[in-house]
Amino acid sequence: MNLSSLKLEMATAGLGMLVLMLGAFTRRDDKRFLGAISAIGLTAILAWSVCCGAVMGVGFDGMWVNDAMALFFKRLFLIATILVTVMSAGFAGKIESGVGEFFALILFACTGMMLTASVNDFVMLFVSLETVTITFYILTSYLRRQVPSLEAGVKYLILGALSSAFLVYGITFIYGATGGTSFSGLAEFLKVNGAGGLVLLGVMLVLAGLGFKVASVPFHIWVPDVYQGAPTPVTAFLAVGSKAAGFALLLRLLYGGLLPMKATWVALIAVLAALTILYGNLAAIPQKNIKRLLGYSSISHAGFLLLGVAAATAFGTGAALFYLFAYVFTNLGAFLVIVCMANATADDEIASYAGLARRSPLLAAAMTVALVSLAGVPPMAGFFAKFLIFSAVIGQQLWWLAAVGAVGVVASLYYYLGVVKAMYWQEPRQEAAIAVGLTMKVALWFVMAATLAIGVFQGPVVEWAFEAARELVK
């Protein structure tokens, strides 16, 4: 039972090693074929998880849980990684050396994220989180002759290591107080002794470490610079994968170890959510670089996800899971366009998007679908996700949170639609049409279709997300 419940993770790590090996035997010009191998391999693992590869249950002395929520997150990470590898294949021309390693690292990061989904112990939490984070240090600074990429890497490294230090120190106090590292041990301790002293300090430090991962205010300082400087596929992966991994850990911890102090964390998360939404949306307004804009927007989306967590019901958690699912397709759609644009115009300024509708109608349409969905306009996936989150919050009578969320949505319409306006109603700087490769075209159509389809036929995804949430929030 124990090892077989790790089948999916082992397969992903094995695929990463295979790609690493093949990279050594591939000619420099053929490296994009490694992207194809990664994407096909991940699709096979995804199919395997649906048909027969998923072994449910608790393993490794209670450290490891495979339940509906774990499986939901694992599939989410696999889908996100498939899209990121396709995007990276389109981006590979900009990577000077080590294309094989680039794909391998993406697969290793995916393995780490899949591990986070099943965590039920602080040792597992620390190790899985660091697997993701350290891999991302390398990926962020991968364009090692370009100063912005290196700068982003150093900033992510210093702030990431700082948050790991807080996390570890917090785990130390929890261990000191409870005498163990399991979530269930912490829950029992809190039930008997209440929250206070050492253990409360420990819990707050751990939550600070996780707040860094999900990019919630006040642990968001790294986001704009790292998002702007990192290679675009890595930014996309940070925005959807790393953030979702943070939420997987947060939900596991809140409903596993911290359930007895629910009243405390609901208040804490509610305040953080409100601050995050306001900061992310207001700071995004004056941005001129599209990646930086999406960085601030990703802070605001972390806020909306925290709203669902703050509702602290099965409905709220299900809404947050649905939101993450919609966010993967929506956000990766926007980043696919950014990769195509950066190949053509060599910068990420919003000004370069002026008149894009005339230069490439497909790119302009894909960007519009993505931005409109991020803003939460019907009938896109993002609209239904926000609708679920707001119903969950209002269902808990948290009117002030709903009001803050509404302010955030209105502010976000302004900056998202500003980009749409530039693409359709401004004169282009150059008239030359932008060529888009076949793979990227297929990916763009797929993501657009998925964003629309999830918005219109929400039923199956909602059902799936809520089933996962119900099992977590008993």
Partner: protein, 102 residues
């Protein structure tokens, strides 16, 4: 002769952690900042080993091994990034990392 008990270890650990944090906040050299971060991780290691000894369980010791391993991986990656940055900029002063602005 005062016997060394758990609180002594915790005080030393807290002092190490605070020194590390102060270093991260005050110093401007990326290498020194990185060193201070490692100090913070080792503060946690010291406290874990002490707790493990006084709790009478081995979980803490095991976690210490994981932290040492992860810290080693972090150092390998971190120093490589800082060296690459030094090659480009001829400086590792974090105040000069300002190529990205609004």
């Amino acid at each position: 002769m005062i016997p060394v008990v758990l609180p002594h270890y915790l005080v030393v650990s807290a002092a190490l952690f605070s020194l590390g944090l102060a270093g991260v906040i005050i110093r401007r050299n990326a290498l020194v900042i990185f060193m201070s971060l490692e100090l913070m991780l080792n503060a946690a290691n010291l406290a874990l080993a002490a707790f493990s000894r006084y709790n009478g369980s081995l979980h803490g010791h095991v976690l210490v091994f994981f932290i040492i391993t992860v810290a080693a991986a972090e150092v390998a990656v971190g120093l490589a990034i800082i060296v690459a940055l030094f090659r480009r900029r001829k400086s590792v002063n974090v105040d000069e990392l300002t190529s990205m602005r609004l």
